[in-house]
Symmetry: C2
């Protein structure tokens, strides 16, 4: 992890550093620049890199190598399933779709697009704790449902959804089930066999691998229109010359999936310790969604009277990278739509900070972060108090 040692990176839900294995693999594979579709010598090395990567990933995710389609990332995977199933089922009796209110923009905007074409889309709400309204889900699920798309883990709060259960209920009605597993990948053990979903999206750069690389799991029997039409790559399910270097990196990093259980325990311990000490040491602090199953690395912290973005900037100057929400909407002055959908007020959402740990996060870093956070919050509150004369958490 080659970032400056003095800089503490706690924004692993936005993106992850490259693993040393990936860095090495990229450098070593640069000479294998041939086109894997070429049948001469130059194509053979690249072709075997693709085969190896697909095999590694399938083994760790517990599926068949032929069920994996390499894409340019999670957003492409999500768009391709949602639009592809819509196009495939157009004109049939299955004309309804179900998703949740707290999905990634690539999912929500795809469904909004289907609505603009006339499709009926149901958005399952969540409670303030982030729990999905299963009653609502069961009420709207029917023989008319073409596809359900519900994420495995939320990017902003880390809340986990019961994928196997939701998928089973969809299948009982004959509907297809897709899960955006981008944030789960590399943070919790994932078994496609246990999940028994029809489609799942993954992203390389949330998993210590390269940006611009992703995966789409598409179960053998699951039908959808092809998103990128073209050559016969990916068994004619995704055209375009393969991103050999990126796919190779993903395959190398797949070998690290077996360690996810260990990292899980390590990150969870550090995260929980941080949250406990945070609640003890700073008044007027709450942990969003602390009481529900969550990713082991994510902490969504509500700090009364402190603007999240100002806090982020102050912490950045002191050498700590955190986030106020999804990176892809960074710089956007609007409060997080995910937190609003969970029932937080605009003020609460704007007072929230996302801390996301990684495989290499240390106890020392978290201690150092807590101390800095404490002093920055105190300073920002003092500034605010001198303006309006209020105190927090008392």
């Amino acid at each position: 992890m080659s970032f400056e040692l003095t800089y503490v990176y706690l924004d692993h839900n936005a993106t992850t550093p490259l693993s040393q294995e990936v860095e090495q693999a990229v450098i070593q594979a640069l000479p294998l620049w041939g086109n894997p579709s070429s049948i001469h010598q130059a194509g053979r090395g690249p072709k075997s890199l693709l085969r190896e990567a697909r095999k590694n990933l399938a083994r760790e995710l517990q599926c068949s190598p032929l069920e994996l389609i390499f894409t340019s990332g999670g957003s492409e995977s999500n768009n391709s399933v949602i639009k592809g199933v819509y196009e495939k089922t157009l004109g049939t009796a299955r004309c309804e779709f179900i998703t949740s209110t707290v999905e990634h923009p690539s999912v929500l905007k795809s469904f909004q697009y289907l609505e603009s074409l006339g499709a009926r889309v149901y958005y399952v709400p969540v409670s303030r704790q982030g729990i999905l309204d299963i009653d609502y889900y069961e009420r709207v699920l029917s023989e008319k449902t073409a596809l359900v798309s519900i994420m495995a883990a939320n990017n902003e709060t880390g809340v986990l959804f019961p994928v196997s259960l939701l998928s089973q209920k969809a299948h009982e009605k004959g509907a297809l089930f897709h899960t955006d597993a981008v944030q789960a990948f590399g943070k919790i053990p994932v078994s496609l066999k246990d999940w028994n979903v029809d489609f799942a999206s993954f992203s390389g750069h949330k998993f210590y691998s390269l940006k611009g690389t992703g995966l789409l799991y598409a179960k053998k029997s699951s039908e959808m229109e092809i998103f990128i039409l073209g050559g016969a790559q990916e068994r004619a399910r995704r055209g375009g010359t393969e991103n050999v270097l990126g796919i190779h990196a993903l395959g190398i990093q797949a070998n690290q999936l077996k360690n996810v259980g260990v990292y899980f325990g390590q990150m969870e311990k550090l995260r929980n310790r941080f949250e406990e000490r945070l609640l003890e040491s700073i008044p007027g602090v709450k942990i969003n969604q602390a009481q529900v199953p969550r990713l082991p690395n994510t902490s969504s912290v509500l700090i009364e009277g402190v603007d999240g973005e100002t806090l982020l900037m102050s912490l950045d100057i002191k050498g700590f990278a955190v986030s106020t929400g999804a990176a892809c909407s960074s710089g956007n002055p609007e409060p997080s739509p995910v937190l609003l959908a969970m029932g937080l007020t605009a003020a609460e959402a704007q007072n929230s900070l996302r801390v996301s740990l990684g495989w290499s996060t240390t106890e020392e870093q978290m201690d150092h972060f807590l101390e800095t956070l404490k002093s920055v919050v105190q300073r920002l509150r003092r500034l605010a108090e001198s303006d309006v004369g209020i105190t927090y958490g008392s």
Copy 2:
């Protein structure tokens, strides 16, 4: 160019080696793994790489940086324009589309898909010399045309189409014009200002840069639906965390575009000399589309009585990489659809070989190739003669 020195690579239309500049740039940029959308320190380096790449490419292609959208490659760029304009114009009076019969599969299949949705698509035929039937084009072009998509240079024969003229004629009818410039990029000087098209597709790996990276030029005023919906990346015109490393490499390689004129002359001289000597030294050989404007690096050679794929394999064993057609349909026993569309018989198409030179191809390599080709053709013809008792070119 790190391939084995003894191996002579003459398949640059399939893919190109990485330039030394790109190799160095990739290695140096590995530590800049941050998310360019992050507003903290980790995002700033990656963000400036994106800005720099966009600026370099816009300068060399003669457009505004804001008119360039980074994609995962030529196939994504082509799919996004064709489907995006279709979706945008759906329900309007502009409901017809025009393309040519010799386009890349990502273009042809996208149009076939539009046809399956009910759109009217005209396929402009080409002559045996590969020349586009302009009369047909003008006949089908009308106020009903939504989009014309015609390639700048053919991948299999190298034939160039008159992009500026075709675009001007489309604009006279108020239609949008797209060109798949994947094969032109890096082989002939490209000026988007001179072309005056609405959309153009480019691919990194045809230009000595990385696979999985591409460009879409979309003129400021040109409207299309967004292909990958999601975050606010690329000014909300293409969602998904950017492939920073790939985009950086594309930007570094853009600085080499100024040398294209020099490489043009160099490749053309070697290609022409090869063709002349080939015609002198092997009987029963023709050059497909030799009499029309062509890419300087491409030679489509018809060798009577020799199966292209057998020849390819024999040459591969001797250390030469060539192709029988598009790499993305390699291994497919069918004759090249492009050559068939040009009016070659199935036998002629199957007797054709594509030789495509690159920036680093040398005279010595071409001489060595010609000698080897001569002896391999002689041997294969002797084998065939002993079977059926015929002689060629006499």
